[in-house]
């Protein structure tokens, strides 16, 4: 672990200078380091302990570290592979490459240490490194960076404060040592510390009320980096949540509330519910495809939080499984968007259309990505959704289940919007000469598609990692036998479902082939209600796709507006102060009058 982190730190420098020779060398360095890291950590025995920079035993390789590191390294490998070609469009390639490697260094560090101060330092390295990549994106990305840093620092300062509180009580920074003693503290202290430490996770994984940065940042960051932001950096927040909920004896620390769920978890579950609701309904009304997926990240963060906060055999496993699903799916989707933007230069859904005939592989990547996000078998997204639903129903938590169902059905709506607007429908005339993305971009996308389907049909590998984590935290591990998954409400077999899926598909295909062949006609040979159309660009339904639904919640309250109004209040106060200290005649008069008045008052 120590050597891997050192290689990454040095690799950032090396990547910077190599990028000066040829900008494509930077991503290659990142790819090599990620693959090396994947190989090392995959084979590393759980429980290894190492020092770092002379500090003894600061790195500890737990089952949770392994799970999150593998997700991170898969995402980063695909990102680096994709960047080899995409980097030609980057604004500052050297810095971009170096900071990407540094982001990986920071996040891996976070996953590998239980020492709270070291964790905080690595956390800040990851945040700062990614902070400087974000403004390399669109015009508005500089403003987005401010959102990013403000919300991130709210989270990380809460974390730091909680750490110091714990240190003043227990005299140690090691989380696992602290968690053994915390149960005997006062209730107020336990609430305060748990909420402060979780604040970092909530801010980072885009949970309500700190979800507002995702739309700006994911939407405006450089196209491929959005994949890392949504697929990986957000998962850093999920890691903190999983680590704290698992390591702290939450179930005994707080009193029971309903159906064996304690009051603290219940608060978190409600935050998850609201995140799902906001994420889903805001995603439905976005016209920018990257912002749409940013809100989808909010909703999926809610799912992960609900699953983890259930802290039981099935729900916790479902939450953890959802982390890898969403990481893979979000990476796939953002990479396919990056390929689309690489070719067409826009992220607005209604400025595109019919790209499927030009970019079929990109389309298939997006399709499998959304099938996984929507939780449809035979992709891995269904496995985790099934687990979360089973847990909610078996506990009788129907209100939360309602939010989960709304988020799940709502995800069909919002993922279909880019599908219909960007890939299907009429091909725009300006896009007539668009070609498929270069082969180097397609390879990582195909790998992700294969992984998603593989883990949807054979989820054992992921479930082994997940149950290892549950054993580490002393929970009853999720029960599975080969491809058959069990919960207290029954079981299902992913392989049988896949076979039935293939059977259905083959029957349909056979009927299709046996029947007379259809004649191919162009897209502009259409039913047009009897009108003569000259411009088929306009015969494409993509603007305000769900107008009839959006109308129903038009005047919704917005936290983004609310935060902006706080900013405006601060600005107004600043303006007021500014007025009194500026070197203008009125300010001089004011101060003079004030001084005279004071003198008079003191004298008499």
């Amino acid at each position: 672990m120590q050597s891997l982190l050192l290689y990454l730190a040095v690799g950032a420098l090396v990547g910077y200078f190599l990028s000066m020779i040829n900008r494509r060398l930077g991503p290659i360095v990142l790819l090599a380091l990620s693959l090396y890291g994947l190989f090392t950590l995959w084979n590393m025995p759980i429980g290894s302990v190492e020092g770092l920079f002379g500090f003894e035993d600061i790195l500890q390789f737990t089952a949770l570290s392994k799970y999150f590191s593998i997700i991170t390294l898969i995402v980063f490998s695909c990102y680096a592979f994709f960047n080899i070609v995409w980097i030609s469009k980057a604004k500052r390639p050297h810095a971009f490459n170096a900071l990407s490697i540094l982001t990986l260094f920071g996040t891996l560090g976070v996953f590998l240490t239980p020492h709270l101060i070291a964790l905080y330092i690595f956390w800040e390295i990851a945040v700062v490194a990614s902070l400087f990549i974000v403004p390399m994106g669109k015009e508005e990305s500089k403003k987005a960076t401010i959102w990013y840093i403000v919300i991130s620092s709210i989270g990380s300062y809460m974390f730091l404060y909680g750490t110091f509180l714990l240190y003043s009580k227990f005299g140690t920074f090691n989380l696992f040592e602290i968690s053994g003693n915390i149960a005997s503290e006062s209730t107020g202290f336990k609430w305060l510390v748990s909420l402060l430490l979780l604040g970092a996770g909530i801010a980072k994984s885009g949970i309500f009320p700190l979800h507002v940065w995702l739309r700006n940042v994911h939407g405006n960051a450089p196209d491929t980096f959005s994949a890392v932001l949504s697929g990986q950096l957000v998962k850093m927040g999920s890691y903190i949540i999983a680590l704290l909920l698992g390591a702290f004896p939450i179930a005994t620390m707080f009193s029971q509330f309903y159906a064996g769920v304690n009051i603290f978890s219940y608060v978190l579950i409600w935050l998850g519910n609201i995140s799902i609701l906001i994420g889903t309904f805001m995603a439905i009304k976005q016209n920018d495809m990257k912002m749409l997926m940013a809100y989808s990240t909010v909703a999926n963060g809610g799912y992960i939080l609900i699953g983890l906060a259930l802290l039981d055999q099935v729900g916790f496993a479902g939450g953890l499984f959802h982390v890898i699903n969403h990481a893979l799916a979000a990476t796939m989707i953002f990479l396919s968007f990056a390929a689309v933007v690489y070719r067409t230069g826009t992220t607005k859904i209604d400025e595109m259309g019919g790209l499927i005939f030009k970019m079929p592989v990109t389309f298939v990547t997006y399709l499998v990505g959304i099938i996984s996000i929507a939780g449809i078998p035979p992709t891995s997204g269904f496995v985790s959704k099934w687990m979360i639903f089973q847990s909610l129903i078996s506990k009788g938590m129907f209100v939360t289940a309602m939010f989960a169902f709304v988020g799940s059905i709502g995800s069909f709506l919002y993922v279909f919007r880019p599908l219909a607007g960007v890939f299907l429908g009429q091909l725009k005339r300006k896009d007539k000469d668009v070609k498929e993305a270069p082969i180097v971009m397609l390879i990582p996308m195909i790998i992700l598609v294969a992984l998603t389907i593989l883990w949807g049909v054979f989820p054992q590998q992921v479930l082994v990692w997940v149950t290892d984590v549950q054993r580490q935290f002393g929970m009853e591990p999720f029960k599975f036998d080969g491809t058959v998954l069990y919960s207290s409400l029954g079981h299902w077999d992913s392989w049988t479902v896949f076979v039935m899926f293939m059977v259905g598909f083959i029957i349909a295909a056979v009927i299709y082939i046996l029947m007379p062949k259809g004649k191919k006609i162009p897209l502009d040979d259409q039913y047009t209600s009897g009108e003569f159309l000259h411009n088929f660009d306009l015969y494409h339904y993509a603007t305000k796709y769900y107008a009839f639904l959006e109308r129903e919640y038009e005047g919704h309250p917005s936290f983004e507006d609310w935060y902006t109004s706080i900013v405006n209040v601060l600005k107004a106060i600043g303006k007021g102060v500014d007025y009194f200290v500026r070197r203008t005649a009125s300010a001089y008069t004011f101060w003079m009058a004030l001084v005279l008045a004071l003198l008079l008052w003191v004298r008499w």
């Binding site: 099938i371 078998p377 099934w386 709304v406 429908g425 409400l489 015969y539 796709y545 009839f548």
Partner: protein
Amino acid sequence: MTALKVAGIFLTAFFFGLTFEGIGRKITARVQRRYGPPWYQNFIDLFKTLSKHGYTHGWIFDFGVIMALGGIIASLGFVPVGGIVAFPGMDNFFVIVYLFTIGSLGMAMGMVGTGNPWASIGVARALTLMLGYEVPYMISIGSMLYFYRTSSISAIMSAQGGDWNLVKFPIGALVALISLQGMLGKEPFEAPMAPAEIASGPMVELSAKYMGLLMLMNTFMEFAEISLFVDLFLGGGTYFVFLLKYLVVWVLVVLISSVLPRFRIEQAVYFYWTVPIILAFVQVFMTVNGFVF
């Protein structure tokens, strides 16, 4: 044996699904004081459309149609039909509900792939309507899964014995029936198709065998959805008893649809999110607190 049972389910769905659809058309016609087509009209329609040369709009259109039918066939295999249970214990409610969406997604994708905006509007409406009916449906069924401590359809079917769930969960059954009306796309929840308004929506560009394949898909989908209702609330039963119960539910649905006008799409969603959701939570409250008759 499993293969035989699956084949039995498919053949039942094919013959009785189409027959009952024909009967439904006859009933609608009688309610509207028309003579109506013969009961075997749907067989004629199907074989006629399947045997014609049609027009296609590219590979995604073809693929979407195959995916639609394939997905529905796959999920139909998991639905218990009377005594025929192909996958005992494995017929998990959520698996079936989510397998269904493969078919819907395939249809939506293929139809929007034609490039006709009417199809897009129809699909957007269908998805929105789905957001309406699925949520109360899943909550009301969820309360039943909670009561029986299993999410296997066949286990719930056999656990009912002589007492139907219709009696044990009357409010849940009402919610499921209202949702069923939306799932089947029958009036008053007919906005996604709306022939007179948006040129049949998703189906606007369909011709010949593509139309035929989607008609078959629609038949299978209806069969699976009503079968689920019969299994969950009316106790399933032996093969012919099951079909009789099926026919009763189907005639009820057709009768309701033949006398009602159409909700606008936002009215439909608004309705689903007020009345059925509240009723579903009343049922949940009763189930969780042990008020099950």
